[in-house]
C-alpha cells in the first residue's frame, strides 16, 4: 500500500470508529440479545442463585421429590449447639445461656419468628434491631431467600444441606435468576397474529410515506426550479421547516392541529361539522396523519437532493429543447426525469431503510393507536424491549424484532440494487478506463 493510502485511512479512522461504535456494536449486541430470554426479571448482567417460595412451587410442579422439598423448606432457623456457641461469641455467654434455656432445640421456619424469640430475652436483651437480625442469622440453616452470587457458592450450600445429588441440576436450574440462551423468540414472534399485523402496518407506512416523499419532493424540486431564484429559495426554506423543527415541537403542533379542540375541529365547527379527533378517529385518519407527518419531513430531503441534481443538468440542453419547441411537461419528462434516475434511486432506497427503522414521529403522535393500528415493527420492538406501562421490559424479544428488521432491511437493499440496475449507474466512464 502506498503511503498516501495510509494517510487516507488515518483521515477516515474517526468515521470508522463512529461506525463501529454506533452501528456495528449495536447490531452485534442485538443479534446476541435476540437469542436470549433477557427481561426485567432476569436482568442483563447475568444472574445469581436464589430459592424462594415461587421457586419451590415450580420445583414441586417439575416433580421434585417431596422429601427434598421439605429438606429445603423445613431447615429454617435451628437453635442448636453451634448456633448458641456463635451467639455466645458475638453477644456474650449469658445471652446464649438464656436463649438456650428458652429455645434450645427449636426450629423456626421464618426469620420473623426467631427474631420474636430473640426479642423475648429479658435478662440479657439484644436491643438494636440490627443486632437481633445478625443474631438470628447465626441460627440460619436454610438456604431459602438467600442470594448466592456464584454457582460454586450455591452448590456448596446444596452440599451443606445434604440435598440428593440427583435433584441438584433441577434445583440449580430453577434457582438461577439470570437469562439463558434460547432460539424460541423467533418461533414465538412468528406464531403471534400481532406480529403479522405489525408487518402489514410497516408495509402500509413505508409504501405510502415513501411514495409521498419521493413524488412530493420531486414536485417541489421541479416547481421551485422554474421559479425565480428568490421565490424558489423562500419556498424551499418553508418546506424545509418540518425537518429542522425539533420532533417533539413538530408533533405538538400536529396534535394541536388535529385534536378535538384543535384547529381543524374549531374551523369546521363553524360549518356545522361535529368536532372530533382528526388524528385518532379511525385507522384511516391515523394513517393519513402519520404519512403526512413523516412525508413532510422526508419530502424536504428529496427536494434538496433533486433540486441540486436538476441544477447539474447542462442548461444548454434545456435551451436546446426550448428552441425545438418543447413545452415544460415535455422538458420534465424527456430531459429532467431521466437525469434524476440516480438521485431518485438514492432517495428511494435511503428513505426505505430509514422509514423501516424510524418510529419516533409515530411514537410521539399516535403511539401506535388507535387499537394498535399504527403500531409499526420498529415501534413494537421499542415497546417490547424498553417502554411499556407495566415496566415489563423484554430485551430478548424486542431484540428479536429488531434483528428481523435488520434482515428485512438487507433484503430490501438487495432488491433495490437489482431493480435500479445499480452497477450500470456506477459504471466508470470509458475515458477513465
Amino acid at each position: 500500500m502506498q503511503r498516501s493510502s495510509w494517510l487516507g485511512l488515518a483521515f477516515l479512522s474517526p468515521a470508522l470508529i463512529v461506525v463501529l461504535l454506533f452501528f456495528m456494536v449495536p447490531v452485534v449486541l442485538t443479534g446476541f440479545f435476540a437469542f436470549t430470554n433477557m427481561s426485567t426479571a432476569t436482568g442483563v448482567k447475568g444472574g445469581e442463585y436464589v430459592l424462594n417460595a415461587s421457586g419451590l412451587r415450580a420445583l414441586a410442579d417439575a416433580g421434585l421429590p417431596a422429601n427434598t422439598l421439605d429438606q429445603i423448606e423445613g431447615a429454617g432457623y435451628r437453635v442448636d449447639a453451634g448456633g448458641l456457641e456463635a451467639l455466645a461469641a458475638e453477644f456474650g455467654q449469658p445471652t446464649a445461656d438464656e436463649f438456650g434455656k428458652l429455645h434450645a432445640g427449636e426450629v423456626f421456619t421464618k426469620r420473623r419468628d426467631i427474631e420474636r424469640a430473640l426479642k423475648g430475652l429479658r435478662s440479657n436483651p439484644i436491643r438494636k434491631t440490627r443486632d437481633r437480625k445478625a443474631a438470628a442469622e447465626l441460627f440460619k440453616r436454610s438456604m431459602m431467600n438467600e442470594r448466592f452470587p456464584t454457582l460454586p457458592a450455591f452448590e456448596a450450600a446444596l452440599e451443606e444441606a445434604k440435598i440428593p445429588q440427583a435433584d441438584r441440576p433441577l434445583i440449580t436450574k430453577v434457582a438461577y435468576t439470570g437469562w439463558v440462551w434460547t432460539a424460541e423468540n423467533f418461533g414465538f414472534l412468528l406464531s403471534l397474529e400481532s406480529t403479522w399485523q405489525y408487518a402489514k402496518n410497516t408495509g402500509i407506512y413505508v409504501v405510502f410515506t415513501l411514495s409521498f416523499n419521493v413524488l412530493f419532493g420531486l414536485f417541489l424540486a421541479i416547481a421551485t426550479f422554474y421559479l425565480p431564484a428568490g421565490q424558489a429559495s423562500t419556498f424551499r426554506a418553508i418546506w424545509f421547516l418540518p425537518r429542522i423543527l425539533p420532533p417533539v415541537l413538530y408533533i405538538v403542533m400536529w396534535r394541536w392541529f388535529t385534536w378535538d379542540t384543535g384547529f381543524i375541529s374549531t374551523v369546521l365547527s363553524s360549518f356545522g361539522v361535529a368536532p372530533k379527533n382528526w388524528m385518532l378517529d379511525t385507522e384511516f385518519h391515523a394513517w393519513t396523519t402519520i404519512v403526512l407527518i413523516n412525508g413532510f419531513v422526508g419530502a424536504s430531503m428529496g427536494m434538496i437532493v433533486f433540486s441540486s441534481a436538476i441544477r447539474a443538468i447542462p442548461s444548454s440542453m434545456l435551451y436546446a429543447s426550448e428552441v425545438d419547441g418543447a413545452n415544460r411537461l415535455q422538458q420534465i419528462w424527456h430531459i429532467i426525469l431521466p437525469q434524476l434516475r440516480w438521485p431518485i434511486l438514492f432517495i428511494t432506497s435511503y428513505q426505505t431503510m430509514s422509514l423501516l427503522t424510524s418510529f419516533e414521529y409515530i411514537y410521539l403522535a399516535t403511539d401506535g393507536g388507535p387499537g394498535g393500528a399504527t403500531e409499526v415493527w420498529a415501534l413494537a420492538a421499542f415497546h417490547t424491549a424498553l417502554n411499556n406501562y407495566g415496566g415489563n421490559l423484554q430485551y430478548g424479544l424486542g431484540a428479536t424484532y429488531a434483528l428481523l428488521l435488520v434482515v428485512i432491511g438487507l433484503m430490501a437493499s438487495l432488491a433495490y440494487l437489482r431493480l435500479f440496475n445499480f452497477r450500470n449507474l456506477l459504471i466508470k466512464p470509458r475515458i477513465e478506463g
Binding site: A53, S54, K110, L192, A373, N387, G391
Partner: protein, 455 residues
Amino acid sequence: MTTLVSKLRQSTAAAVLALTAATVAGEAFAKDLTITVWSGGSNDSDAYRWEAIEMAADILEREAAILGEDLNITVESKGQFGNWQEFKQAVTLAAEAGTAPNIVVTSHLDIAPWSEAGYIVPVEEYLDIDAWPLSDIYPNIMEIAAFDDVQWGLPQDAESRPFFFWKDTLKKIGYSDEDIAAIPARVEAGEYTLQNVLEDAKKAVDMNVVEEGYGFYPRVSNGPDYAQFYQSFGGQLLDPDSGKLVLDKKAMEEFYQFFVDAVDAGITRKNHLGTDWGQWYNEVANGKAAIWHGGTWHYGRYAQEGNEDFWNTIEFSLIPAGTENGRANTITHPLVYLITDNADDEAEEIAANLVKIASEPRLNTLHAIKSNHLGISRQQSNIELYSNNRWADEATDRLLAHANSQPNHVNYGAYSEALFKGLEAAWTGTKTPAEAVAEVEVQMKATLGDELIVR
C-alpha cells in the same frame, strides 16, 4: 446522573474513611450521606412522597446527634417523569448500570420482577416489622408490599378506584335524589350492574343530556382499572392455591364485549383510548360525561379543574358487577417504598430507616390528605387532619373494605400488557372480542408457560 452517582460514591467513600478514622481514634464520627429518591406517577400534590423522606432524614440526624454521632443526610429527589413507562425504564436501566437511586416509590407490581433481578433488597433485612410504626400498618396493605413471604417494601399510600356518576345527568334521566343516594348500596349488593350502566348511559345520550360518546367515559390509557372489569365478570387474576395467574376466557370475553357494546351503543367513543389526560379530567370534573371511573385521588384533581362542589355533583361507588358470576369490586394499587441494592450497606440501612420514619402516621397523613389518597395505618384516624377529612373517611368506608390488589407475580406485567392489548383491539374494532381473547391466550401461553391456568 453520573455526577450524582460519583458524588454518592465519593460521599460513601468519605464516610467509610471517616468511620475507620473514628473507630481508630475512638471519637464521635461524622458521616455524610446522599440518599436519592425517585418517585413514579407523581405530580405536585404527591410531593410528600419524597418530602416525607426529607423530614425523616431530619429526625434521623437529630436522633444521631443525641447519640453523639454527626450524621448528615442529603436527600436528592426526583418526582418528574413523563409517565410510568419512562419512570420504569429509567429505574431499570439505572439499576443495570449500577446507578439506581437509593429509594424508589413505585407500583407494588414491580416487587416481583425487581427482586428476581436483584435490583432491590428486602426492608425486613433492616427493620423490625413487629415494632411501631410498621406494626400499625393495615396487614392487608402490608401484605401487598410483600412477595414470596418476604417483606420487600413498605406501602406508601393506599387508594382505590371507584365508579363515578354525575348527579345532574342522572336526575335528568329520571332518578330522584334518593335513587341516586341508593346507587352505592345497590352496586355493592349486585343489583345495579354494568348492564344498568349501559342502559343509563344510553338514556343520557339518547335524551341529549350528554353528547354521543360521553355516556360512559372510561380511563384513557392502560392501568389497573381494567383488571377490575375482568373481575366484574367473575374473572380471577391469581389462583391462590397454586400461585399461578389465571386466564378466565369467558370472563375476559364478556369484559371485552361490554366495551364493544358501549361503543356500539354510541355511549363510548371508539377512539377513546389515547385521549389527552388533561382534557379527560376537565370533562369529567365538569359534568360532560354521565358515568365514568377513576381513582380516589381524583377528588382533589376535580377541584383543580374547577369543580369545588364534589359532594353535590358526583356520586361514587364500587365498580358494578357484570353478571351474576361476577362481583362489585375495586382494586387498590398502593405505591410502595423500595430500597435498592447498594454497594454500601450503611446506605441501605439508613434508607430503610428513612422509609420507616416516613411511614409514621403523622407524616403519612400529610401525603394522604394533600394528595387525596387513603391512609396506611390505624393510628391515622387519630390524627385530626385525617379524621376530619370527609373524603378519606367515606372512601375508606365505602371502597377500601372491598378492595383487592393485583397479584405480585414475576410475570404479571406480561399478563396485564396482554389483557390491555386484547381490550384495545376489541374496543377499536380491529378484532371481535372472541378473536381478541384467542390472541391473548396465545400470547399469555407463550410468555407465561407453566405459570398460567386457562379456564
